[in-house]
């Protein structure tokens, strides 16, 4: 009885304007995009609440497009008074936003909360996207890598293996199309519309040509000759008849559908497409192979760029301990295993050889090897500025209104102004 009275007194006192007590129920708001199909997030959140009795989690859905989500975060994080906070604690971040949000001071530095080596279980490219300036700002959550899909049945019928170089890919297209005589069968489809996907395709072309978008000292397109060479290849796919002209307006879904309907031999796309090709009733079910992207010349296959999302914690959260605990739980192997049972690919390497998951998604071990070689897009706070300034120039090369040399020069000029003083 005395204990109850004491407890009641404490509760009353706590209600009198003192700081919230550690064991008072706290509510953590998790802002995330909905997952395809059967969304496992509510189940994971319920599991987290069972283990943290004092914590309630409220999930709030984000807009569907990446642009909308970015705009939502930017407006709310920049616009909110620091004292009140943005109204959410844990947020799902696109892989390219982490350095930007960290530089802006919107993210809580997670380094002190993590065990040493906690990120080592994730793919190196995924962990690299979580770090900026030597600190960890977010936890890798799900993953995507650009890969080459091919029609294994068609290649086998014509005695071909998956192409390791662009020349092999071009020869395979010509040979198969000449023999199949199907005017509806396209060669190699990829994403050439003026948007973020084109940047990914161009980055992969730059890497295949042995150069990069940013030099070690932050210079844009440091090797102009190789950069022009790389962009010339994108245009070359179309002028050589290897890719249909409509790739200049194509995004992931448009190309995924063309390949998925059996109307293309090769496709550059992300991991996520494989589940759809393998779905019961899909026209190409059982006929699709996966390989690394073709390299240039004799260099061998080249790395794919990475996508996916991470979990960050708002710097002005009122419940940092609970928010960090939620982020760590959602990024844990246990939670990622649940996510991987659905349509999401995990960032934790071990799960790609997990027997139960492999039984359900047999292509996961193959993804493991491709993901190991993958590279993140440039990890810089100015990434969106880089990418959006670059896109019109890349697109100009793809549709042939600018020479690659001219586009490289114009991109460097645009970015010199946009990036001045931003390092």
């Amino acid at each position: 009885m005395r204990a109850i009275l004491l407890a009641a007194a404490v509760v009353l006192l706590a209600g009198c304007g003192g700081p919230p007590r550690a064991d008072a129920p706290v509510t953590v708001v998790f802002k995330h995009a909905r997952m395809f199909g059967d969304d496992p997030v509510p189940r994971l959140v319920a599991a987290f609440e069972r283990r943290h009795p004092g914590v309630r989690v409220k999930t709030e859905a984000l807009g569907s497009s990446s642009d909308e989500q970015h705009q939502f975060f930017v407006i709310n994080l920049e616009g909110s008074a620091a004292a009140r906070g943005p109204g959410f604690d844990v947020m799902m971040l696109d892989v390219i936003w982490v350095p930007e949000f960290a530089r802006a001071g919107w993210l809580l530095d997670l380094t002190p909360s993590l065990a040493p080596g906690e990120l080592d279980a994730h793919f190196p490219a995924a962990a690299e996207a979580a770090r900026w300036n030597g600190r960890v700002w977010a936890l890798p959550w799900n993953f995507n890598v650009g890969v080459l899909y091919y029609r294994a049945d068609l290649l086998a019928r014509h005695g071909l293996g998956p192409p390791r170089s662009d020349a092999e890919l071009a020869r395979a297209v010509q040979r198969i199309r000449a023999a199949e005589r199907d005017p509806k069968l396209e060669g190699f489809v990829w994403q050439g519309k003026q948007y973020e996907g084109l940047t990914c395709n161009a980055l992969e072309a730059l890497w295949a040509s042995g150069t990069a978008l940013l030099g070690p000292d932050g210079e844009v397109l440091p090797d102009t000759t190789r950069a022009a060479h790389a962009l010339a290849r994108l245009r070359g796919w179309i002028t050589d008849g290897i890719s249909p002209p409509w790739v200049s307006a194509a995004d992931e879904e448009l190309t995924r559908r063309a390949f998925g309907d059996g109307r293309a031999i090769f496709l550059r796309n992300w991991f996520y497409a494989m589940d759809l090709f393998d779905a019961p009733g899909a026209p190409v079910r059982g006929k699709v192979g996966i390989a690394a992207l073709p390299g240039r010349g004799a260099a061998g296959p080249s790395p794919g760029s990475t996508g996916g999302s991470l979990l960050g914690v708002s710097r002005t959260t009122r419940h940092p301990a609970a928010a960090v605990a939620l982020a760590r739980f959602l990024a844990s192997e246990e939670a990622q295993r649940v996510l991987a049972g659905g349509s999401v690919l995990p960032t934790r390497m071990a799960l790609y050889h997990d027997p139960a998951l492999v039984a359900k998604r047999p292509h996961m071990p193959r993804f493991h090897d491709l993901a190991l070689a993958a590279r993140p897009r440039p990890v810089t706070p100015a990434y969106l500025m880089l990418s959006t300034s670059l896109q019109p120039e890349l697109s100009a090369v793809v549709v042939g209104v600018k020479t690659p040399e001219r586009a490289v020069a114009d991109a460097r000029r645009q970015l010199a102004y946009a990036l001045q003083g931003l390092r």
Binding site: A104, Q194, P381, Q391, V398, A418, L422
Partner: protein
């Protein structure tokens, strides 16, 4: 001025004041604020905020992307407004002559106009689909509507015409209904043919409405955003990027508040100049009438 007049004037100022204050707070204030921002270099992500003078305007003056966006905006505005006006007027005349099903026709017209811009854009995304799109199938061609540098802007103009032509048609149709039959009877008595009736009776009576519609449509087209944002993202090669899309990318996508505001100010000045030109024409016509 009598004492009474003075009192009335004071009362009038009192009555007008709330409107003036509201307008100042909602329009003039933000406009001035944006202008002030455009003179600053302000990138919150990088903690940059300092005075930049006319640096942004100086860069824009020689920025090929800006001039391309300017050209795209101008071509889009002239082409879409001209087509909308011609087709809208034609449709209004046809509607007036129609005996049966006029209500249904009006309802169908309103449907296109009532669709949200983004929905229209998604609709046209499917219509222009390179393999399965209705446009290619119906025409029996395999055109790359949204990816061909020569076709992308015309494709967007077409979508805009489909969407906003009904607006023009309804305005003209409403005016046509109010022209008294006696005017046409008089023209017929004077021996005017169809062409002469249209040229000397219908058109002059429609002109004020046409001018107002033209003003609305031009101001809208100068700020065109949704169709290009959804359908092409400004591509290919930036050839469908309008000034407002460029401003959006700078302001919201990359948070270059000063630079984006400079583009916003230019759009504002452009819109105001066009509006002023139209209004002066309207005023002159009224004075002449």
């Amino acid at each position: 001025m009598t004492a009474r007049e003075r009192a009335e004037r004071r009362a009038a100022i009192g009555f007008v004041a709330p409107a003036v204050v509201t307008l100042a707070a909602l329009t003039a204030g933000p406009a001035l604020w944006v202008f002030w921002l455009s003179l600053r270099q302000r990138v919150p992500v990088f903690g940059i905020d300092h005075f930049a003078g006319i640096a942004h305007y100086a860069f824009l003056a020689t920025d090929p992307r800006f001039w391309s966006a300017f050209r795209v905006t101008a071509v889009f505005t002239v082409a879409s407004v001209a087509l909308e006006l011609l087709l809208g007027l034609g449709l209004a005349l046809a509607l007036r002559g129609q005996r049966v099903g006029r209500r249904a026709a009006l309802a169908l017209l309103l449907l296109a106009w009532a669709l949200p811009g983004v929905v229209t854009a998604r609709l046209f995304e499917w219509l222009y689909h390179p393999a399965a799109g209705l446009v290619n199938v119906a025409l029996g061609v395999a055109l790359n509507w949204l990816g061909d540098p020569a076709l992308a802007l015309p494709a967007l103009v077409l979508a805009d015409v489909w969407r906003t032509m009904p607006f023009v048609a309804l305005f003209c149709y409403a005016r046509l209904l109010t022209i008294p039959a006696a005017v046409y009877e008089a023209a017929a008595v004077d021996g005017a043919g169809r062409a002469a009736t249209f040229r000397f009776v219908t058109l002059p009576l429609l002109a004020p409405v046409l001018l107002v519609t033209l003003l609305f449509r031009t101001l809208d087209a100068l700020r065109a955003f949704d169709l290009m944002f959804v359908l092409t993202g400004g591509g290919p090669a930036g050839l469908t990027e309008t000034l407002t899309v460029y401003a959006y990318r700078s302001l919201f996508q990359t948070l270059r508040l000063g630079f984006g505001s400079a583009i916003g100010v230019i759009v504002f000045v452009l819109v105001m100049a066009v509006a002023a030109a139209y209004l002066s024409v309207l005023r002159r016509r009224e004075a002449a009438a």
